[in-house]
Symmetry: C2
Subunit: 765 residues, 2 copies
């Protein structure tokens, strides 16, 4: 399978161009660069031109229409930083403009093995002069501060002057749309230029944010290559008050070519003490290594990545490729330091303002835990670093103990402006706890548990202990929280939340006992002043947790009043009124049985042993009818649970919707960024869905059941330090231990022990 | 009982002064003038200097922190209009300043028979010169556009120049406090001056609001009186760019006096086409009549008012006077045209931004319905005038039929920024319907029902029919609404709301049948395209309404999950943490059994026949323990229901808290305006509480049971056009028909027929 995504346009399409800004963005977990046209988007055409640094934000006011006690009044927002992607081309003084002249051919390529995007354009200007432009962009995985551009122009049918102007623009703003709750509502200047100068042949800018007081530096350095035109050209850097411009001019003969190479280094004060010194030192190293070095390093990095994440489907090239694209975007989105996490849109756009949600731990992390656990660890380290802020948040909500992680955040503070479907979604605590447990079960990394993980588990368990209580009948009940489904808010005993809290409470104690058995519990016990009686309360609450069941329907109600409500009138809801959240007042939605996304159904994936298969089947059928999938987090989960319950056809259909979501813009908003949660869910739909991989206290198990149209599924997986290759067809599954220590895995319910280089084949039972 | 309130200060107290701005405000239902010091409040001292026109507002942005579909994004706000109350006094060039020199005596008086406030001040300046100042203010009931000031200064111990400068200041702003959700959060200029000129000896300003485009005019005219100093003085009006100043100068001998009379006329474009012409024409009439004419008219008006509202308690002077004060403020707050209603703070301050809530119909209106029904009718006319906006509001909330009145408004649009404890309080519809029914039952005004009342009843009934539905068991249930208690929001089957909706649905049909029996139903049937099946649905829903009852406790639960929650930890809540809403996040409050105010208990007053006395008694005792009375709407209701249930001691105690609320600033926020709902509730606590007046389909009944410490209670009441005097002691009740047609009333359960001048005495049974 060639890991390449291509988009070819025969004419300029503003809509396609807007989507392609997302699809062809470059990112490396730290830097994200939208795939905006380097010469600028033609006037009047939509564009979200932006470059983002993961974890770098400003704080902006978020006044509440009615400011009740402890409401959140300001929020963090991801910033669009200095625009260094702009390069303009002039033919005899006339600028390249996609909306003018004639596009003869235009192809964009994402090469996921080489880690680059490429744009190939043949364009004729209004005077009939044709030019070929080849532009390569890369966000380096080797050096996360580095973004590179290679820009090459060839005169196809004329002799004349070609000028290439490469910019470093410091006066930038964020994208805004007051009509869409998922975007910033106000255009606002958040960054102020402290200095812009020419140093070591680079233009170097240092800017500071208005409120958070963070600094960032951009250093830009250009190289010219006149070899394609016999050395005929000059290049020159001019640095003005707010812009640096490097101009390259060449008198080209027909077929003559000029090339500009642009090295761009970003640093920020979240990570560096002196952003300028750090940027210049990195730039020095970058220039001494040269572009080819980084191209090669990129390939090597990705070779390793794909080796650990390899996934091949025989019989379904399109969805295979779509899944690889999703995995690649996840890699682009995921941090490798403890200063940031994975935003809802990764680094591909400004949707949801760069905030981190439960999406990171619940939907995206499993992919990394199972293939690159060091990335999963970085994300969990980030959460741990914000634990004190989560404790403050819990105190603001009136809790005497525990930590409540924010529903949306960058730096760790709660940034939700509407607590009803934000802060009230307490399940985020249990979702993070779940990710910690799964990380431990997959890696066996007890050091992490001792240092950080158990503290997270205990503080989140404490929150649930403080939120819920034992009712008259001895059940542990949790009131006034919001589950995953945001079309029903502030309810009692949300089935998902209670399952999640049960797990959280139980595993807080279980992992504590594991530490204890290893003599490593002391630190966390002392730090948290933990008592045995508190642990036994946690066990008791977990055991007594109320998991609602409706006798009449034989299903799990989403919450204690959900089934009492009438079902939404789907028949009389016109297609253009979806997603419902953009057309109906929330109070209207709250009053009906209608789900934005998997809620109870999600619990059947994560907490599958709480119910019998029959109950889950009936529930699945019930919720399927009333779920709109208006949330991008929904179809992947429905696919996984359909697989689990043997609904093969549905599993494949939902998987298809999930796999193609961004490439085909199924939610009509991929323009604002990719849906990373869905991308992670798409991966899980294959690995946990079709292949039925489970990693839990009983170890690693797999029992694939492929979609009928698939001939074979092969994927790699990292379990307890060993790299496994699993290959399944309709008859059976082959497992090979490619690297690492001996390991035991369960295939179709049968335990198998493997050493390096060993291979077992098990027939389906 | 002398109807006079006095406040004497021996020294200047900024706190007392701030409260007195409310207590001694002047208003007549159209104009409201805070009792701020005419010379200005000393620097650094708190003050809410303002003049308000009922129903005159601007529209200001109210951006939502997270803007979900159909959230309200702008709101109406009552404006502080041109400051015409400012009068400064100079003794030999030195200004009067309460914070300097020495206050020798300072008394403020509210004379509720003459309808004026008076300030008497003896003050010594830093040079030892003593002056006596007597200032009388009046908001005329005869001419609602008119505010007058009489300002008289006497030299007590010196000969010297006294200058009085009278201002007309057009550059004004509203009060703001970003930390208090009950006040505007931002200081904002909402009015722009169109013209300021000298015409007919007046200064006349015309201003326009920024967004609503409403205009207002202020005309100010001064009269001088130098008779107290032998004609020694001059007066002169200067009109500048944004201010008019009338200066009066006089060289006073010891004991000499000068007097300024100031006529101020306000008009607005809500009511007048040409505000300036209207103001000048009114001013002409005012000046030709002169001040004494209006003083006499004021007395005559109030004589009639007190005759119809007379209320005397023997044995409790203090609370009697406090109640009279409350009634007087209600009169000051109540409109007599259809352009406005009764704001939460009346016209006494900017708390809640001048918005009208359910307070108007549920708490204040009964006083007027029972004493001055033409005022009640004006308020109901106002609601009818906004019915179309209520229909639009219902449509925004997704209702296919019906009208949803706004939770807070001035011009009729929803101005609630937090719908959870705003728009979701659907009971406001039923509260308005209830007021219509009570108005009809008290007055017999079928014309109003035919023209407007029945349309309101049907449209509100339709809303409940569309909101609720018949559940599996055949009950009619109403989900996701907020009851009166704002510490518990968005619940199912709120007991109060369901009772109220039941009444609304039932009476929509009953009054329709009454119209039908009189051949007067055609208009409303056609206008609303009303079908018989719709009417029978209403009857069915009303009959099947779910009114929750808890078998275990034998009480009515506030909603379907209320009793499942733990009780708030009152023991560990420090006194300074009340009101809870200023110290705890709402999500925290929602999770406990804790009530801001009467909720289920209120239904035992308004819908007293739904439960047995035993159930109500147990519920009362239950809710009493968990109600904080953080809302000013609470104690009056607890008093009434305690009376109803025979809890005499509690009834009297709650009544006392209600009666003294503003005069003694019990809620620590009377500075921002008086609590009109409580004032109406205080009246009801006597008339409907102690005297047990009921007016319903069975007519008028009364069966007084006085507090032990009272010897006698005498009050007047207007019922079906007849003025009754009721006089009760511990033995029995005397009823006299003072004016109007023969009428039948029920005393202690026994029917009595009365003709004019007739009197019956009934002994208690």
């Amino acid at each position: 399978m060639e890991r390449i995504i291509k988009a070819t346009e025969n004419a300029f399409s503003p809509e396609a161009n807007f989507i392609n800004e997302t699809i062809f963005h470059n990112a490396n977990g730290y830097l994200g660069i939208r795939g905006a046209l380097s010469e600028g988007t033609p006037e009047g055409c939509p564009s979200m031109r932006g470059i983002y640094l993961n974890g770098f934000y400003d704080i902006i006011p978020m006044p509440q229409a009615e400011n009740l006690c402890h409401f959140v009044n300001e929020k963090e927002t991801m910033l669009n930083v200095a625009d260094t992607m702009t390069i303009r081309l002039f033919i005899d003084g006339e600028p390249l403009n996609m909306a003018k002249g004639k596009v003869l051919s235009h192809t964009r390529t994402l090469d996921m093995d080489r880690g680059i995007t490429k744009r190939e354009l043949t364009w004729e200007n209004e005077s009939g002069k044709q030019i070929e432009l080849i532009e390569t962009r890369m966000a380096s995985f080797k050096e996360p501060s580095l973004f590179t551009m290679e820009y090459s122009a060839r005169a196809l049918n004329f002799n004349g002057q070609v000028e290439i102007k490469s910019y470093h623009i410091t006066d930038v703003r964020n994208f805004s749309d007051p009509s869409d709750p998922r975007l910033a509502s106000e255009s606002r200047k958040n960054m102020y230029l402290l200095s812009l100068e020419k140093t070591d042949g680079c233009s170097v800018s240092v800017s500071e944010t208005s409120v958070s007081g963070l600094r960032m530096c951009a250093a830009v350095s250009e190289e010219t290559d006149f070899s394609g035109c016999g050395g005929n050209g000059i290049g020159d850097l001019l640095v003005g008050e707010s812009e640096g411009v490097f101009s390259l001019r060449s008198d080209l003969k027909k077929n003559g070519r000029v090339t500009l190479r642009k090295y761009i280094v970003y640093t920020d004060s979240v990570r560096e003490t002196d952003v300028k010194t750090a940027a210049l030192s990195k730039m020095k190293a970058v220039r001494s290594h040269g572009l080819d070095f980084y191209y090669r390093a990129q390939e090597a990095f990705l070779k390793d990545f794909w080796n650990r994440s390899s996934l091949e489907v025989e019989g379904d090239d399109a969805l295979n490729k779509a899944t690889l694209f999703n995995m690649y975007v996840l890699l682009q989105s995921a941090p490798r330091d403890r200063f940031c996490s994975i935003a809802a849109k990764g680094l591909s756009g400004e949707g949801y303002e760069g905030h981190y949600f439960w999406d990171a731990e619940t939907f995206v992390l499993p992919f990394f835990t199972m293939t690159q656990p060091e990335i999963a660890k970085a994300v969990l380290n980030y959460r741990y670093a914000t634990l004190d802020k989560a404790r403050e948040n819990a105190a603001l909500l009136g809790h005497k103990k525990g930590a409540l992680f924010p529903w949306r955040t960058i730096g760790g503070r709660e940034c939700s402006g509407y607590f009803v479907s934000g802060t009230a979604a307490y399940h985020i605590d249990a979702d993070i706890a779940y990710a910690v447990v799964k990380y431990y079960q997959t890696t066996g990394d007890l050091d992490f548990i001792e240092e950080k993980g158990e503290e997270i588990l205990l503080e989140t368990a404490r929150l649930f202990l403080d939120t819920g209580f034992f009712d008259r009948d001895g059940h542990f009940v949790i009131n006034d929280v919001t589950g995953p489904d945001e079309y029903t808010c502030m309810v009692n005993n949300n089935y998902y939340t209670n399952c999640a809290a049960k797990f959280n409470l139980s595993w807080a104690v279980r992992l504590f006992r594991i530490l204890e058995n290893n003599g490593r519990e002391k630190k966390v016990r002392e730090k948290l002043k933990l008592s045995e009686s508190e642990l036994s309360e946690m066990e008791k609450a977990s055991a007594a947790m109320l998991l609602l069941y409706d006798e009449r329907l034989g299903i799990n109600p989403q919450d204690d009043s959900f089934l009492q409500k009438p079902v939404w009138d789907f028949e009389n809801t016109p297609a253009e009124n979806y997603p419902l959240l953009l057309h109906y007042h929330p109070l209207n939605l709250y009053r009906y049985q209608v789900c934005k996304q998997a809620d109870t159904v999600l619990s059947y994936f994560l907490y599958e042993n709480e119910q019998s298969e029959e109950v889950m089947k009936r529930s699945f059928r019930y919720y399927e009818k009333i779920t709109t999938h208006d949330s991008s987090l929904s179809t992947c989960i429905f696919s996984i649970v359909a697989s689990r319950l043997g609904f093969k056809e549905e599993a494949y259909r939902y998987f298809g919707d999930s796999a193609r979501m961004d490439l085909e813009n199924l939610h009509h908003n991929s323009t604002f960024g990719a849906h990373t949660a869905n991308m992670g869910g798409c991966y899980m739909a294959i690995v946990n869905g079709f292949a039925r991989v489970r990693i839990d206290e009983n170890g690693f198990s797999v029992s694939p059941e492929l979609p009928d149209s698939w001939r074979k599924l092969t994927f790699h997986q990292v379990y307890r330090g060993s790299l496994l290759s699993l290959s399944a067809d309709h008859e059976g599954t082959k497992v090979e231990l490619l690297e690492g220590p001996d390991t035991e895995i369960t295939v179709y319910g049968q335990k198998q022990r493997l050493s390096k280089g060993q291979c077992v084949y098990c027939k389906k039972v």
